[in-house]
Symmetry: C2
Subunit: 385 residues, 2 copies
Amino acid sequence: MRDVSIVGIGYTPVAEAWDLELRDLATQAAEAALNDAALQGVSSLYVANMLAGQISHQENLGALVASTARLGPIEAARVEAADASGGVALRQGIMAVASGMADVVMVLGVEKYTDLMGNARLNAAATTLDAELEAEQGATPAAMAALLMHRYMHEYGLEIDAFAGFSENAHLNGSLNPAAMYRNKLRPGMFAGAPAIATPVGLFDAAPEGDGAAAVILASTEIARDMVPNPVRIAGSAVATDFVAIQQRENPMVLNAAALSAQAAMAQAGVSHDDIDLFELHDSFAILSVLALESAGFAETGTGYQFGQPDRISLSGDLPITTFGGLKARGHAGGATGIYQAVEATRHIRGTADDNQVPGARIAMIQNLGGIGAVAATHILTTAD
Amino acid sequence: MRDVSIVGIGYTPVAEAWDLELRDLATQAAEAALNDAALQGVSSLYVANMLAGQISHQENLGALVASTARLGPIEAARVEAADASGGVALRQGIMAVASGMADVVMVLGVEKYTDLMGNARLNAAATTLDAELEAEQGATPAAMAALLMHRYMHEYGLEIDAFAGFSENAHLNGSLNPAAMYRNKLRPGMFAGAPAIATPVGLFDAAPEGDGAAAVILASTEIARDMVPNPVRIAGSAVATDFVAIQQRENPMVLNAAALSAQAAMAQAGVSHDDIDLFELHDSFAILSVLALESAGFAETGTGYQFGQPDRISLSGDLPITTFGGLKARGHAGGATGIYQAVEATRHIRGTADDNQVPGARIAMIQNLGGIGAVAATHILTTAD
């Protein structure tokens, strides 16, 4: 098996990109990644996308992006795993290189939410839940997150404000990131006092859906060292699943897929929790940040919410999270989100994260969740020295 | 890179399965494949599906099928490449095993068309075309196939009847296959005299959409030889793409993706056209059979239609095609179709194809097209002796 590294990154700002089509976003990210790697092309392409069939009436995005981004008649496929599409597609690209079946692979995530608005988009997003046991009953992702948050608050005797620190940290980091969807800081009290999306999930808790595309280019580490001065190595990679319907899970307070994939990726990389310099987690809702910290073993069950403090999760904290704003402030670009995480971790390890830099970052963990934890992709990135 | 073989196969009949949900179909195919391989489980799962998000309101099929088919919290992903989803997913499963990142992998195709009917389903199918350049103008897959067929007839001075032999062969083979959607034989004249779907494509030309699921289980060939008495080796595997919009293709009469993937798969397998004992091609429309034969190099440009004769393509012909009825008579199960092709080729090579057996078949080529040739996956299967 060949060792795999990232040799190029590209992305668009996450935004309501009314003037850009899905294919335009993809082309911009592809071109940026090729430029970053000083390459003219790649040998194959994985496109991570969640909902373009429903939102933009466009399936078959592998072939579409290969041709519209002028990558030629190369091998291409679309990978979908709800909002974990990006992380799961990243693993497919790694396999392609690791197997020797492809040499230089682009993994590109793209989501164009604003082609559909209002309830129609809510219904589309609900197809990432269990259609029979959840969505047909009227459930949406926010509603399911609200149930989890309510239960967590009940179990541990908490109020909404206990979760505020996660969004405040995300917005603070987003304020430093020119490509973030929201660059405003949250003032004390704004989180708990916000209008409700689905009680107890409020407006400053649910991550905003935004249009965006991000791409990474992969090559074998051996080749990568000759291609670029700063390859970033994929030291660990794992995907695991759980029941899609939360009612069927053994314990709704444990994200089992997140736990399994974190354990496997850390074991492969040979790292312990103390080694990890930053953790880009999937903060589509603050409750998922809390459960991700617990499931990955950074916090004991019932204590993850205590991480919502600057000394723990800020850029200079013990375990920086959502360092460029996370889903909450950089914006949640659906199936592209896992690739944004990979791009951001790469920038940290290269030392090119500008105002968002975690000082001296050498080992980053990124974790992309899909369908409120039904699928989890965890990767560990580090230097290729 | 590890050599990869098929150690188990399973499938449901292709049918209008009103009494079965998408997840039931998947579970039946998964259980059949596990039984066939005498296995209790697999280490990872790829689900090939084209349209469940739109048709059944269900995305995230990797996690869903992993749990509903009781495969456990294993790694899972959905792969989509229009109606080539099956063939493209097969290649992902091969990469997973070849890389050493997974040991025993299930690739399962499933499509549940009948959750949506009429124009709504036509609209869903049209999302596999180019949304801007084709579907927004009212194009459907059948309409695009009709344009290709019309052009071919014009170029070579042909009438509709010139294509009849392909459907007649498919229905004859389907009549022998208990799992075929249509088991009636076509009488002379029925093909050209059929009601039009999109002139000149008629009712007995367009393949029927059916519900179905099919699965193969992959392992490294070295392990496979100890697991089962009859592993079937994947000797060649390739995916290529073309412009999705036919108007942008260099020559609409050449399926460039099909040509590139066939060449690459044959080169990898080290086989020539004469070595191939059967060719499961993508006969969603007869014109695609003709163009596939030409693009893969079995026929010169403009002569592929001449293959529509029993001595050439029947079970005892020079190059048997659509041996179990193909998409036309076995039924077109959307994103599952490429896996049905793999199952059928495996049965031939095992010598367990019953009444559909191609005598002495040792080398089979299967080719799955998506979006009227925008993407093509070609595989070559053979004995693991």
